[in-house]
Amino acid sequence: MAQFDNQYVLAGLLVTNIVIYLIFVLGLRRATSNPLLKVSSLDQAFEALEKSLKGAFPDLPSGFTWGEGIERAKKLTIRIDWTELEKELRTYEAYRYGKWELSPSSLTRFREVVKLAALLPNKRRKKIWGVIPWS
């Protein structure tokens, strides 16, 4: 009887182990596959923000500008330092449209942009059994 119990306990532990391991591996894969973790330049940060804005506001016309997109995002309750975000946008615009040569520190100033890109809800994400995963 005791031997029978031990077998069940062992099998249970094994299954639990496998499940924990799988969750860990899947989580790690998901985290490393998140494009936001790979953002290393101003261009990439704003590229990510563009995708997120389109995902969050599917009705946003294709002719939207950064200002219009960010204005829409402000209406959501997202905890972002909007003043800092405006500064980052200004830096990007100066670099993008003004062809300014930026200092290395300015080129890596996109924390709030990436944060906003990560926090915007994705309304285009596919539903699984009627539920949007990770929302």
């Binding site: 002719g63 500008t65 449209y97």
Partner: protein, 312 residues
């Protein structure tokens, strides 16, 4: 310093006599810095003329007003040759157009030949009468006012004349709160003397230089030409935006950038000015209008802006 503050200063000065027209003042200033002319359209009594007077006063520039009427002749505005009895020679007598800011009041009440007399002046900043060419003072700006076209006794401006106006600014009725303030202010006599000059000649030259040095990237230029093409290929429009319109859109965007404290143009500048710069230049297709499938030009411009992707 002056570059950043000018918009606020002018708004404050003009605001002493005109209430609740901050956005209109901003557009007129943008147009002035871009060396363009502006057409103000609205029903009578919406402070168009007063705003134009106050605007020129706070810039400290020479200003003349010409009231356009159906019996007006081109020489009433440009000037003409008058025989001088003493010297026994014909002398050119300058008309009211020889000024920095000309207020062409109710421009669409004059006959088309008088309206057309302004064409050369507005484009080339000079007038030619019987072989005599007179240079206009610099800067030169026409602030024209017009009543809506469905009013009695008005002649619509020809397309070529409309195209010379960088912007058309619409003056709607004020809101309830603003109207109450207007009535309150008018209980005592409104005096233009309270409007002070806030920009010196030196500041003005600096501002014009700043506008000329604003950078417009290749991508922004491509974006503007895509917008132009879109207006020309739209089936509901019979006359799309002209190349002159697009040049003026970019020029006004440069002026807007200076007023915002930047030395480069963003798509935001282009989008915010597309409506006042383009709306009066596009002509709706008559059959589309009759079928009821053509909305107003302003709606079409907005749809064009929604479709064309700006550089990001």
């Amino acid at each position: 310093m002056v570059l950043i503050d000018i918009k606020r200063k002018i708004s404050r000065e003009v605001g002493k006599v005109v209430v609740g027209r901050e956005s209109e003042i901003g557009l007129i200033l943008t147009c002035f810095l871009a060396r363009g002319h502006v057409l103000l359209e609205g029903v009578p009594g919406t402070s168009k003329t007063l705003l134009a007077k106050a605007f020129s006063k706070c810039l400290g520039l020479s200003y003349k007003r010409a009231q356009f009427t159906p019996d007006m002749l081109p020489l009433d505005i440009i000037g003409g040759f008058i025989f001088n009895m003493k010297t026994r020679e014909f002398e050119f007598k300058q008309g009211p157009i020889f000024t920095n800011i000309l207020l062409a009041d109710e421009i669409n009440r004059a006959a088309p030949k008088v309206q057309s007399a302004l064409l050369e002046a507005m484009q080339e900043l000079q007038v030619t009468v019987e072989g005599y060419t007179g240079k206009l003072p610099s800067p030169f700006m026409v602030i024209a006012t017009q009543n809506p076209l469905d009013f009695e006794g008005v002649y619509p401006l020809p397309e070529s004349e409309l195209d010379r106006f960088m912007m058309k600014v619409e003056f709607g009725y004020p809101s309830e709160v603003i109207e109450s303030e207007i009535i309150n202010r008018n209980l005592t006599e409104l005096n233009l003397e309270v409007v002070e000059r806030v920009v010196s000649q030196k500041d003005l030259s600096e501002l014009f230089k700043a506008v000329e040095s604003v950078n417009v990237s290749k991508e922004i230029l491509d974006y503007v030409s895509k917008l132009a093409r879109e207006t020309r290929s739209d089936g509901r429009i019979s006359l799309g935006a002209s190349p002159r319109a697009m040049v003026q859109l970019v020029q006004s965007a440069r002026a807007n950038a200076v007023l915002e404290g930047r030395d480069y143009v963003t798509p935001e500048d282009i989008k915010s000015l597309a409506r006042p710069v383009l709306t009066h230049r596009i002509k709706l297709d008559r059959s589309a209008s009759l079928k009821g499938i053509a909305p107003s030009p302003a709606v079409i411009i907005q749809q064009v802006l929604d479709v064309v992707t700006p550089p990001r």
